[in-house]
Assembly symmetry: C2
Homo-oligomer: 298 residues x 2
């Protein structure tokens, strides 16, 4: 499918792409640009014939595809280098979790002759690093490709094909809608999980009790999400401007919930709790989660 | 261990106790009082020689142990019946999730000659009903027994032994501390999950977009908890007066989080996100959750 591919940043997502590409034989040559020595030694254990490079330089001037899977805060300096060394025929994509900021950055700094079409595979984990990568990470998962005016349809089709080859279900969105949707289905849940764990830590200090010991009643679920990579999530929270609106909507609902409890409003609370159930059923039907109770955990 | 036991309310928890007791041969005779015909037909399929009764009456006057596992809102009318038919030698326990209210109710309405020692096995699921019960539900899970003044130490030892026999790790607490601890580790997480799902439902209406489809990025985890039984959780939210304090602490933290994001305060956000990670590590070390990434889900 490709002659030469470059993966920039090879953590959980980058290494999963590497594994999937190797398995599906999607490129004759795969270069990996990874700064962490620790990660490099882990990537060397992955079954793939990737070649490590230390910098963006002439060696990669003729690659067909570049996949940027570093934290988003590194994109700007990567763009500057790409401008310097890349041929026009190359397709660039990224896997960042917010899109308005990336499109803006790209439009401002990337050489206009280069092709960048942004992607967002909806896959991940609370763990990070190449050792946790998985060739099947994208299997039957959504991958959003960001639509823009004046995109090369040839490059677009190529990217579409690429994600489908490694197992994703592709969906098109513009950056604005992408950021709105994922502010609710991903960014707010993570923020709320982080905030709940912080609250439990505070309560532990206030109560002077060993609370964490008794986490099996619900808290443990949130602790998983709240263990996600801090650099990635800082970048997301700082770059999706819909998150403030999402927090405000959540807070408004929380205040109403508080009043329902204070007034012991039986009708209203039962209506809330019953309605929530429907979402779980829907999520399981849509194969967005496993059907087993308790995630089949025990 | 017992001659005659009565389980009142035989849903997920009651039927798990029934299964565990049958497996461990903890009683010669087990009576089940269950009002739902649908549940009764499901319980009949469970391997146990339980006998169904339709009402609390003379038939159960000589049981050794009664386990109440109905929603807490039914306790009062159960107590009235128990007063009428029960011998003094019987031990009564319950599995309710809040304790101050139960102790108050019991002290007010239960015949002073009867022995009620309250329990709270920290086990459950988002699914409810006897078909989801499991003889191993309590295995290596905490079970809180509520300490009170003037408890019969003989009865207390018996109850302690009972929970241990069906696999629990027993811990003693007074009702006040119990309610404080579980307001944070269980009740607040459930309330927050319900509130997040409600917020996603609202956002779906506001955005006029099919959000739920993209739940794999985090929302799906909350939808599991928010699918929990509405009667059980109404009773918990209405009866743990610590929940309002917990909501306020959560809201205070959420407002700070919002400001950190608005000010793009790099140091503060990294400190928050990094600190949360420690809790996950602790929870896994304490065997309060599985060690596998993503709950070993896929």
């Amino acid at each position: 499918m490709f002659k030469k591919v470059l993966i920039i940043g090879c953590g959980l997502i980058g290494s999963s792409i590497l594994r999937a590409m190797h398995k599906k034989k999607l490129s004759k040559k795969i270069f990996v640009l990874e700064k962490s020595k620790n990660n490099i030694s882990k990537i060397k254990k992955i079954k793939s014939n990737c070649k490590f490079i230390k910098n963006i330089n002439n060696e990669i001037s003729d690659v067909d595809l570049i996949i940027i899977s570093t934290p988003m805060s590194q994109y700007k300096k990567i763009i500057v280098k790409l401008n310097k060394f890349l041929k026009e025929s190359c397709l660039i994509t990224d896997v960042g979790s917010t899109k308005k900021n990336i499109i803006k950055l790209k439009n401002k700094f990337l050489n206009k002759k280069l092709n960048w079409i942004s992607s967002h595979p909806i896959a991940g984990s609370e763990v990070s690093g190449p050792e946790y990568g998985n060739k099947n990470l994208f299997l039957n998962k959504w991958c959003v490709i960001i639509k823009e005016k004046n995109q090369s349809s040839k490059k677009f089709n190529l990217l579409n094909k690429f994600w489908k080859k490694i197992g994703s279900k592709v969906v098109l969105m513009d950056a604005v809608n992408h950021d709105k949707i994922f502010s609710i289905t991903s960014h707010l849940p993570h923020l709320i999980a982080y905030n709940l764990i912080k609250t439990a830590q505070d309560a532990q200090k206030i109560q002077k009790k060993d609370l964490i010991k008794y986490s099996a009643g619900g808290l443990r679920d949130f602790s998983r999400i709240a263990a996600s990579n801090e650099i990635m999530w800082r970048d997301i929270f700082f770059n999706n401007d819909n998150i403030i609106k999402a927090i405000n909507l959540f807070s408004k609902n929380l205040n109403i919930f508080k009043k329902i409890i204070q007034n012991k409003n039986n009708k209203k609370i039962l209506s809330r709790l019953t309605n929530s159930k429907k979402v779980r059923t829907q999520i399981v039907q849509l194969k967005q989660d496993v059907a087993k109770p308790d995630f089949g955990r025990e």
